[in-house]
């Protein structure tokens, strides 16, 4: 999406917020009350500056700790919600590293292909799996352009109260939806800014007053597999 269009969307969201009865613009920046639904006025996203991304994996550790994603020591079948990917240019040898997770697309292929509608996008742009209606067909794992989804290959115990997960269903990064609903940032972002290279930022892509919005409209950024025109919620800088 070009900056002008993004700007327009931001203004549109602001105008809608100002016009809707009972809404004030200032509320967009604050936590939703528990009695309030996720809103289409917001679009949560990440901005990852990979020039600052260093050779560490605190984002991965923090994510898996926060979400109770524990492995069984079987790399081929253990779930990974976020992973560090190392790139090396085939011709020049230029090396980079970056975290890759669900890109929370506006037009998610996983949602398109899901036969039961278990794979869905929440109004605020977060792509989730409804594990109550997931039948474990794994078609979404095939369809995801980013290899972001995992199938739970064996029984799980010791789940976190906020992050239910179980055998026979598919799962992926939830953008820490339980934290976002409490007005906190995702665990990976928090860890990166505390212990890592301070490469990750989280925010509302529709909120013109948000820092992430300011950076996206004034600095270069890109999407992974932009050719697919999925309008990802996760953007990268320096890629």
């Amino acid at each position: 999406m070009n900056p002008e269009r993004r700007q327009l969307l931001g203004w549109g969201a602001a105008a809608a917020a100002a016009l809707a009865p009972g809404f004030r613009l200032i509320e967009l920046a604050q936590a939703r009350s528990p009695q309030e639904a996720a809103s289409v006025l917001q679009r949560w996203g990440l901005l990852i500056d990979i020039t600052k991304c260093v050779d560490c994996d605190v984002c991965v550790t923090a994510c898996h700790e926060e979400n109770g994603v524990t492995g069984q020591g079987r790399p081929a079948t253990d779930a990974q919600w976020i992973r560090k990917v190392n790139l090396r240019d085939k011709r020049t040898g230029y090396a980079q590293t970056l975290p890759l997770m669900c890109q929370h697309c506006e037009h998610p292929p996983c949602v398109d292909v899901c036969p039961t509608g278990a794979s869905f996008k929440r109004d605020d742009g977060i792509v989730l799996v409804d594990k109550h209606t997931c039948i474990g067909c794994r078609y979404c794992v095939l369809a995801c352009p980013y290899g972001a989804r995992s199938f739970v290959h064996e029984a799980v115990s010791g789940q976190k109260a906020d992050v239910p997960r179980g055998k026979g269903t598919v799962e992926s990064c939830t953008l820490c939806v339980h934290r976002v609903d409490r007005a906190e940032t995702p665990a990976c972002v928090e860890a990166c800014n505390r212990d890592g290279g301070k490469a990750m930022a989280f925010g509302d892509l529709n909120d013109a007053s948000a820092e992430i919005h300011r950076r996206l409209r004034s600095e270069p950024s890109s999407q992974v597999r932009a050719d697919l025109a999925l309008n990802t919620g996760v953007r990268y800088q320096g890629l």
Binding site: R88, I135, L142
Partner: protein, 396 residues
């Protein structure tokens, strides 16, 4: 048509019970495998987060594709009006139903939550080709059942042609749906092509006819019914045409990919250095599945050659579906074009996969189920004519 006499098979011989028992053992083994996979979780299989569809899906897709193809013999009789094929139409409809049942059973029992089948029947996302397929499959049972009824019920014979046209159109759409499961996967270089839909249709012609020929020959031989050489020769010619058609579509698909720079690495993988997938492609699909049957059907000729050709088409077909489904997933997704990629999640590397015993047992169990249902169908209803000797078939 009225002059053809159909008759159930006797089903009193020891051989009948041995056959049914053997198929029953396969079905039980498949059920045991599914039960183990559901309780242990899929980590006991060869499948992983990179190869999410494995051997069960190879068998399931093969059976489903073959099911729609098995109906072709009936379509040729009632849609295209070839009298010679009319006595074979009932068996053709029976095989279409039983092969589909076997394939679907495998697909359903491999789900992560097979206990939630009811969810798949009550929650639909109509943008998903998978959801459409649920309707296409269940509808196919109904349409073929109707078609068979018009054949069996003398008063309904007048509607056979219309039912046949409906079933023929339905099966074309059904196989389009099956091919599109892969064709619609935009983010995977080996799939992402509208060509997969017609490719799957010609594959279904070929696989379905091969199975039909073998089942027909076995059923006639074991129930002591004459089966004419001229009829078999016609089926053999048809099989040859279908095999050649598959070869054509495969060639066009690969040639297109070879022309596109971004697909060159994929083609190198499939055709040159893909290890087991390259071997399965050249030896399994091309040599055994295409060239050998063509030679057998057109150069060698004869009953034994036809049976061997049909068996080769089935083996080659399984190899082809294996290369499409598993080879297509093993080839790494191109997330960052132009970059060498590595991670803890097997990015940028060929995913390893070896079929596990439960997967094979489940897949073979589906074949067993399809054949057992066929045998039972032949036993309880008159699907097969008393005689398929050349003179009688021509006179009919």
């Amino acid at each position: 048509m009225a002059s053809i006499q159909y008759r159930e098979i006797d089903g009193r011989s020891g051989g009948f019970y041995v056959l049914l028992g053997a198929l029953g053992v396969l079905v039980l083994a498949g059920l045991a495998a599914a039960w183990t996979m559901e309780h242990q979780g899929h980590h006991i299989t060869g499948m992983s987060n990179r190869i999410v569809w494995g051997t069960p899906h190879v068998f399931a897709v093969f059976l489903i594709v073959a099911a729609s193809g098995a109906l072709n013999v009936a379509s040729i009789a009632s849609v295209f009006g070839r009298e010679l094929y009319k006595p074979l139409a009932r068996l053709s409809g029976l095989l279409a139903v039983t092969l589909l049942a076997g394939g679907l059973a495998v697909l359903v029992l491999d789900l992560g939550r097979p206990d939630r089948l009811i969810v798949a029947m009550t929650h639909y996302n109509f943008k998903s080709i998978f959801a459409w397929n649920i309707f296409l499959y269940t509808g196919f049972f109904a349409v073929v059942a109707l078609y068979l009824w018009t054949m069996f019920e003398r008063r309904m014979n007048g509607y056979t042609q219309r039912a046949g046209v409906l079933a023929f159109l339905w099966r074309l759409i059904l196989t389009t749906g099956t091919g599109s499961i892969f064709g619609f996967l935009v983010a995977r270089e080996p799939y992402d092509s509208a060509l997969l839909a017609p490719l799957f249709i010609v594959m279904s012609f070929s696989f379905g006819l091969a199975i039909f020929v073998l089942v027909l020959m076995a059923a006639c031989r074991w129930s002591g019914r004459p089966l004419g050489d001229a009829l078999l020769a016609r089926l053999g010619n048809l099989l040859g045409v279908f095999v050649a058609a598959v070869l054509y579509f495969v060639a066009v698909h690969h040639l297109t990919n070879l022309y596109l720079a971004r697909q060159l690495e994929l083609e190198r993988f499939l055709l040159l250095d893909g290890g087991v997938y390259t071997v399965l492609f050249w030896i399994g699909q091309i040599l055994v599945g295409s060239i050998v049957p063509l030679v057998l059907v057109y150069a060698v000729r004869g009953r034994a050659a036809l049976a061997a050709a049909a068996a080769c088409v089935i083996a080659g077909g399984l190899a082809q579906v294996y290369v499409i489904i598993i080879g297509g997933q093993a080839y790494p997704q191109q997330i960052f074009p132009g970059k060498d990629v590595s991670s803890t999640f097997f990015d940028g590397v060929i995913a390893s996969y070896s079929p596990s015993l439960p997967e094979i047992a489940l897949g073979v169990g589906g074949v067993g189920l399809a054949l057992a249902l066929t045998v039972l169908g032949l036993r309880v209803l008159p699907f097969l004519p008393r005689s398929l000797a050349d003179g009688e078939a021509a006179a009919a």
